[in-house]
C-alpha cells in the first residue's frame, strides 16, 4: 500500500510531463508545417508575377483541383498534396526570360518552344526532392500541358500515360484561363466554359477527369462566383486604390 502511494504521484507527474512535451512537439510541428505551406504559396506567386496573372488564380487552381479530386474519390492525403502542389504548376516560368514571356504580339516558333520549356524547367527545380508535396509539384509542373490525345508537351504522353495529378491540373488550369480576363481576351461565361471543357473530352482532357469535374459542377460554380466577388471587392475597396481608405 505504502509503495503504491509513493509510485502514484511520480507516475502522474511523469504523465503530465509527457503530455506537456507532446503538446509542445505538436505545436512545433504545426508551426513548421504552416511555415512550409506558406513558403509554397509565396514561391508559386513569384512565377505568377512574371506572367502578370493574379494571386487569386493560385487559390482557384487549388480549389478547382481539389473539387476534381473529390469527384474522383481521391484520398484526403492526395487532396492535401494537390492543394499545395497545384499552385506551383507554372514555377518553371521563373526561368523564362521576360522578353519572351511578356512579349506583345505574336511569338516566333523558337520563342514558343522556349516557353514550352517551363514544364521541364519547373520539374528540374524540384528534382531530387524528398518532400511529398514537392514530388507532386514536380509531376504537375512537368505534365500539366500534356493532352489526352498525345498532342501536348513536353513529352507528348497519351491517355493514362499522363500522371493523374497532371491530368487534373490541366483541366483546372484551362477552365480558369477560360473564365478569367486576360490581357488578350475577355472571360467566357461559366456555361460556355463548361461546354468547351465537354468538347475537349478525349482530346485535350481525360474523359474521366471531365466526368469528375462535371460531377462537382455545383461547387465549381460556387468557386467561380466566389472569385468574381473577391476580385470586384478588392478592386473597389483596396487601400491601394487612392479613392478610398479600405474598409
Amino acid at each position: 500500500m505504502a509503495t503504491k502511494n509513493r509510485v502514484k504521484p511520480k507516475y502522474f507527474e511523469y504523465q503530465k510531463k509527457v503530455r506537456r512535451a507532446y503538446q509542445k512537439l505538436k505545436e512545433a510541428y504545426e508551426e513548421i508545417k504552416q511555415s512550409y505551406t506558406e513558403i509554397v504559396f509565396r514561391f508559386a506567386l513569384m512565377a505568377e508575377y512574371k506572367d502578370e496573372t493574379t494571386g487569386t488564380h493560385l487559390v482557384r487552381i487549388a480549389d478547382y483541383s481539389t473539387e476534381i479530386a473529390k469527384g474522383l474519390n481521391l484520398s484526403e492525403k492526395d487532396r492535401y498534396y494537390l492543394r499545395y502542389a497545384s499552385p506551383m504548376h507554372d514555377i518553371g516560368k521563373l526561368v523564362i526570360p521576360d522578353s519572351i514571356l511578356k512579349k506583345e504580339g505574336g511569338l516566333t516558333p523558337e520563342e514558343r518552344e522556349i516557353i514550352k520549356k517551363h514544364t521541364v524547367l519547373g520539374a528540374d527545380i524540384f528534382k531530387g526532392t524528398r518532400s511529398p508535396i514537392l514530388k507532386v509539384a514536380r509531376v504537375i509542373a512537368l505534365s500539366h500541358h500534356e493532352r489526352y490525345d498525345g498532342t501536348g508537351y513536353p513529352q507528348g504522353l497519351k491517355g493514362k500515360q499522363i500522371p493523374l495529378f497532371g491530368r487534373i491540373v490541366a483541366l483546372a488550369d484551362v477552365f480558369d484561363a477560360l473564365t478569367t480576363k486576360r490581357p488578350y481576351k475577355e472571360p467566357y461565361s461559366f456555361e460556355d466554359a463548361i461546354w468547351m471543357v465537354k468538347q475537349e473530352a478525349k482530346r485535350h482532357f481525360d474523359p474521366d477527369i471531365v466526368r469528375a469535374f462535371l460531377k462537382r459542377k455545383k461547387n465549381i460554380k460556387k468557386i467561380w462566383q466566389a472569385t468574381k466577388d473577391i476580385e470586384s471587392f478588392i478592386a473597389e475597396y483596396s487601400f491601394d486604390n487612392e479613392e478610398n481608405q479600405g474598409l
Binding site: 504552416q34 505551406t37 506558406e38 504559396f41 473539387e67 473577391i230
Partner: protein, 113 residues
Amino acid sequence: MQVVQKTKNGVMVCYLKGEINIDTVSKLKEIFEAILKSKSRKVLLNFKEVEYIDSLGIATLIDFSKRLLKREGILFLCELSPNLRSIFGITKVDKVFKIYETEEEALKEFYGY
C-alpha cells in the same frame, strides 16, 4: 471547423479553428447571420488556429464585412496563421481588411470607434 465567441469590452471576438473551406463554410455563415441579427457591431475575428481558407471562405468574409459595414459596423481581423497570411497576401485580401498582429492591438483600435 470550430468557432468560440466571447464578448470583450463590447467587441464580439470570434476564435476560429480548423479549415474554412467549401465544406465547412456554412457554419461560419450561420454565425455571421446571428451576429448581424444581434446588436454586435464591433466584430473581431481571430485566425490564430485557422489552417487554411479557400475562395469560398474568403468570399464569405467579404460578404459579411460588406453587410456589417452597411449596418455601420466594423470588422477587424487578427493573429493570422502563416498560411492565412500568405493566402491573404497573394490574393490581396490583406489590402481590404484591417489586420492586426495581436488581439490586444486590435481591441485597442476598437476603443476609437
